[in-house]
Symmetry: C2
Subunit: 414 residues, 2 copies
């Protein structure tokens, strides 16, 4: 059976449910995947020996184009087939350096003389970095085109770069024959990060390399959430999935106001250290509650208590913001509980949408929030991580014209 | 030299500066005396063998009157001269029981048939309990009249019962010749609670007995603050004065709204325990800052940080209240920082008045707060504890007509 000529891949964004800030000091945080906010990519094989990258959502109106022959293969010591059983791949700084001038050449053919900005250059670097590593010269085709689309806000702390990295790693691993489309469709599977034979772990590890291209020293939690989906517990570099976690409905509000990240950490060690411990206690309580078998109603109530605890504790560290209080105030009028999410930059707020909240109320809340300049997303936390689809039957036009990608038949790795 | 025939005594109220709630779980709290909110008593010797107690501020329009001969002296095993060197006196439950019917007899002579309520009965019990214990039958006079006045709100968590107890203990110890008016006037002295020869410690120990009559199991911090003044650090029954603490100017707002005292303690031990530790850290930081030799400006800024920390941490325990948020909101408009004070019932809020706050701003804040039904007191925390005065030259009318007792020449115990 020949492999498909076109693949669709999709990876979710992430939010920190509990433990932001504390995680920086070695405490446990819980992150979850954003079911409705995803990056999606269409991979098309081509036969002219060129790589093409389309980034319209990053403001690039024309494709970037490179001949495969220009890639610095010599910098890749031994071509990895990706099945290296070692936990961490060592990052190839020399390769990244060699790619810098090549990245810019991808823009040479454009007729508008539009320069590519730093964000676009980084996106292109990730693409070429992964391609150079994963091309093993054994495949019979030559070239690929990638179209990228996303409904994830960039720079809002919602893991857009990780979703991009995971999609690229997955698409290239598929196109270059390292992995194949799996059979699994519905079930969200628990992951064992130490299982080296798992294609999901392979994707996660290459996505982590991609994140290094983007961030230098990423924590690894964003790519883990985008890859595995569900909820991930994370402390001091050690990750595990939150067993038993299904999905929770949230309103995600992007206040678009930079967060105050000045904390009181330095001044008051014997106050702040226990506050960080208390925040870690929230993550632990969340994992306990998820598996305690309580009713949905009680589960929601307990999570609302943890939301308030987390909000007040992070506030006590001095990293609150009036715009977050504003969201809390508006949602509290409908008896809903909100907390900031993420460690800085984005200023996003999560509001738990209990089952008993009416659609009318949600509409009113969204209206109140958008009327003061905030952006709202009704979303679920949890659900599938990386998802793939044989896209042979999906036209490029169909993909590009689909704002909310609603294709069916997604498959999920074990 | 004959002893005075009239004594004036005065004891301050108290507020919790830091650590309310946490102190219930064995953590350190800091309490301070309320310089301008005091209970004052005039003691007059009489020669007709009667005890008279006047409690107009407790709503009692006529005096309570008892013949000394009615007191159950037989219940006092050995008449204590108060100089017992043992730390704690054992409480005389049997005496208290015997006093119950006698208390009511004090009301028998009144012509209005006004019944005495529970609060008035307790106040009378304290008086008779102390008198029976302290009367050693060696003194040449027979009888005393006590006039009580106070500008301390009752039941607002401001230590009004302790100020009452300390005044009564002091006045009776003076009148019955156990102690004499001291020479010290200005300096606030540090106390050594284990020094059994100190008259201040004697007062404190009898006041603690009085507090037992009122509260059953008092913590001892209220009477300590009313006795010693300044600021007192307190944990698990162990008290010490906060060395180096002078006075701090505060606005004290009584919201008159009962506080929500339901905490999350039971549900989340591994979140709440570190929160309590963090609150204890605030008390420790306060003591450090007080003695760090920083400028007044930095001192104020650090205390404001601790105020915010304490507020947010106590809020995270779920014991906040909208009326407290309201005070914070109003004072924040003038860049001032507020926190609740006290563990429940009173709903009082403290706002630090920095030196750079103008009187105009304070007036505006007070106006804003009183216009929504709150009661404001501009006060200092710290300053003298129990103060005494030879009142021979002060007439009873002068005392009773003085709303804010502004006599001079107060003396203070070592």
């Amino acid at each position: 059976m020949s492999s498909p000529s076109r693949y669709l891949v999709s990876a979710p964004g992430k939010v920190i449910l509990f433990g932001e800030h504390a995680v920086v000091y070695g405490k446990t945080a819980i992150a979850g995947s954003l079911d409705g906010l995803r990056t999606c990519m269409l991979f098309e094989k081509r036969d002219d020996g060129f790589l093409e990258l389309n980034l319209p959502k990053l403001g690039l109106q024309h494709p970037l184009l490179w001949p495969i022959s220009a890639l610095p293969y010599s910098k890749v010591a031994s071509v990895s087939n990706g099945n290296d059983s070692s936990q961490g791949f060592s990052f190839n700084e020399e390769l990244l350096e060699a790619l810098r001038p090549i990245v810019l050449e991808g823009n040479a053919g454009n007729k508008n003389n539009q320069e590519i900005n730093e964000l676009q250059q980084v996106a292109a670097s990730v693409f070429l970095y992964l391609y150079t590593n994963l091309e093993d010269k054994q495949t019979s085709w030559c070239g690929t085109t990638v179209h990228v689309t996303s409904n994830l806000p960039v720079g809002a702390g919602l893991g857009s770069s990780a979703a991009y990295s995971v999609c690229l790693a997955t698409g290239l691993l598929l196109v270059l024959g390292h992995i194949a489309i799996p059979d699994y469709d519905e079930k969200v599977r628990e992951f064992n990060i130490s299982d080296s034979s798992s294609p999901t772990n392979l994707i996660n590890r290459w996505a982590f390399q991609a994140e290094k291209v983007i961030h230098g020293t990423p924590s690894g939690i964003d790519n883990a959430v985008a890859t595995y989906g569900g909820a991930v517990s994370f402390a001091k570099g050690v990750m595990e999935n939150v067993i038993g976690f299904q999905t929770l409905r949230f309103l995600l509000t992007n206040t678009k106001t930079p967060r105050n990240t000045r904390t009181l950490v330095a001044n008051y060690p014997h106050i702040v250290e226990p506050i960080l411990e208390a925040i870690e206690g929230i993550s632990a309580s969340f994992k306990e509650i998820i598996n305690s078998g309580v009713s949905q109603k009680e589960l929601n109530q307990r999570i609302e208590e943890l939301i308030d605890l987390n909000h007040n504790l992070v506030n006590s560290l001095g990293v609150g913001h009036p715009s977050i209080d504003k969201v809390r105030e508006i949602t509290a009028q409908y008896s809903l509980h909100s907390k900031l999410t993420g460690a800085g930059g984005g200023g996003c707020v999560l509001t738990l949408l209990r089952d008993d909240v009416t659609n009318d109320d949600i509409m009113r809340i969204k209206l109140a929030l958008t009327s003061i300049g905030f952006e709202c997303f009704e979303t679920k936390i949890g659900g599938h991580g990386i998802s793939v689809l044989d896209a042979s039957a999906i036209s490029k036009q169909e993909f590009l014209s689909s704002e909310n990608i609603q294709f069916s038949g997604w498959k999920h790795f074990n």
